[in-house]
């Protein structure tokens, strides 16, 4: 299984600002994903981070709000732009390597004031 780290682990931000979350995997992986977990809710997929090309976004999520980079097979970033209190959530990175299951990072707990 892959080991994933995320930075920062938590942050408190003011509305209107942006935060970039980093996700690092300890080995090369085929696929990386970004999920959001709103307070008391389940996980929802934001997008699939594609290495060397634009991310694939799920319905309800757009690139201008959640730009994603994936410069190589072990690293990805998610930016939450122009934040509002509704963006307060846990953001989780995951990875998969063709065997179907995904492994998750510890998450980034974001609070927007």
């Amino acid at each position: 299984s892959a080991v994933i780290s995320q930075k920062p682990s938590r942050d408190i931000c003011q509305r209107g600002t942006s935060l970039t979350i980093q996700c690092q995997v300890d080995s090369q992986v085929t696929m990386m994903f970004w999920y959001r977990q709103q307070p008391g809710q389940s996980l929802t997929l934001i997008a699939t981070a594609n290495q060397g090309s634009e991310a694939t976004y799920e319905s309800g999520f757009v690139i201008d709000k959640f730009p994603i980079s994936r410069p190589n097979l072990t690293f990805s970033t998610l930016t939450v732009s122009n934040m509002s209190p509704e963006d307060s959530s846990i953001y989780l990175c995951s990875c998969g390597q063709g065997t179907h299951e995904q492994y998750f990072g510890p998450g980034t707990r974001l609070t927007v004031t």
């Binding site: 389940s42 996980l43 989780l92 995951s94 179907h100 299951e101 492994y103």
Partner: protein
């Protein structure tokens, strides 16, 4: 389209008694199914997975789940609950056919409370 429904939002058991967390799924093809656990302020940990092999799947920490196609169910069980099992449990189905890594669809979660 694939979906999962966790039938209980909250389950409470006494330590040492059996655990049953119920999950029904809907899939237009043979699904891959998973159970993940999330302890407070922690990330998600894979408990077990079903990917069209044996229908009775054994996972970590004494958990197991049985895939029942006729009932479209994938219930999670454990013979004897431990205090450390208290957590949020998610039943998950893959949006793609078995063998492909892609979108995961999460159930709403079941909070397991274990009383001393």
């Amino acid at each position: 389209a694939q979906s999962v429904t966790q039938l209980d939002s909250h389950v409470s058991v006494s330590e040492g008694t059996p655990v049953l967390l119920r999950c029904n799924y809907s899939s237009s093809y043979s699904p891959s199914l998973f159970w993940y656990v999330q302890h407070p302020n922690k990330g998600l940990q894979l408990l077990l997975k079903y990917t069209s092999a044996a229908t009775l799947v054994k996972g970590i920490n004494g958990f197991e789940a049985e895939f029942k196609k006729s009932e479209t169910s994938f219930h999670l069980t454990k013979p004897s609950a431990h205090m450390s099992d208290a957590a949020e449990y998610f039943c998950v189905v893959s949006a793609l056919p078995s063998g492909n890594t892609g979108k995961l669809i999460f159930g709403q979660g079941t909070t397991l409370q274990v009383k001393p």
